[in-house]
Homo-oligomer: 189 residues x 2
């Protein structure tokens, strides 16, 4: 395993501080010995949760935002500075769906795009039950849907669901019975 | 089909101009009537090319950059202001591989991440032949590899290849013989 190269090197300077995004720049030595200014963005990391319920369904949000038409998504949101990642996952799940559970598994993290220092942490929350009402932000309109496992993996072909990496996993499960059984076991335990 | 909501509305102001990224902000009315500052980034659109050769191979780059370990990618790059998209695709293919062809098809475009106004245009270039040497930037080290169709679709499971949307398409082809035949026909004509 090669050593990971950090997206923002130590000598980078923050040249802009925004509402969500900060911009960093640094002088980068090129292969021919010349130097160029490189630029990378930083935004807060986020968490998202695949939640299975005691009646063997999966929670999917049908979400609307002031600048977006309705789309399907997983519960999740920003990881605040003053909380752990798992706390962020618990908080977002409860706020957006009213559900909670004690059965949490961290599944994978990914950095969706280059030139952007941003990690998305995907958790699995099993055997969740509804204990509260939704508590939404002023920029959220969220319907909580219960999908069967088959409906869930069919999101692979649904253009209203935008999560390319998860779609690759769902596509594998959709077309290959071994992968399907493996995913089902992982999500429902 | 619902009307597409532009990522950057007319009343947005550019609050930062960077080397690659510009930052835009605007006051956004929320669902409860309050207003918040919304922020979106803009970067130049890019093109990428799936190139098939006269000997029925597919051109894949093994690329190194000053801040990235070697990885697999498609030929491609930035769409400059003073050229058309197809010109950018022709130029990048020739610069990065030395190959050219007259058989071009636009395949799909996508916007890889929300909060970022950035479109990637994917082209298919068939029956390409090598007519020149590579002409690389100071920040590029590129080996041009010829993949068979089977090697190409196996990139679906290769962590050194980072293109989540294309990986979903390749996964479909890898696991489903109809999808595989369809993709092969599309790429080789």
């Amino acid at each position: 395993m090669k050593k990971r190269i950090p997206k923002i090197p130590h000598n980078a300077k923050r040249v802009f501080e925004g509402v969500i995004f900060d911009v960093y720049q640094w002088p980068q030595k090129m292969f021919d010995g010349t130097t160029e200014i490189f630029e990378v963005l930083k935004r807060p990391d986020t968490v998202q949760i695949i939640t299975t319920t005691t009646d063997k369904k999966i929670l999917i949000l049908s979400e609307e935002q002031p600048t977006k038409h309705r789309y399907y998504s997983l519960p999740g949101g920003r990881h605040d500075q003053d909380e752990t990642l798992i706390s962020a996952a618990r908080r977002e799940l409860k706020e957006e769906t009213g559900y909670t559970t004690s059965d949490w598994t961290f599944w994978y993290k990914e950095s969706p795009t280059s030139k952007l220092a941003w990690e998305v942490y995907t958790y699995i929350a099993r055997n969740a039950t509804r204990i509260a009402k939704q508590k939404l932000d002023s920029g959220e309109k969220i319907l909580v849907k219960k999908f069967t496992f088959d409906q869930f993996i069919n999101l692979a072909n649904n253009s209203s669901f935008r999560d390319p990496s998860l779609k690759t996993i769902l596509t594998r499960a959709l077309y290959n019975s071994k992968e399907r059984a493996k995913l089902k076991k992982l999500l429902f335990g």
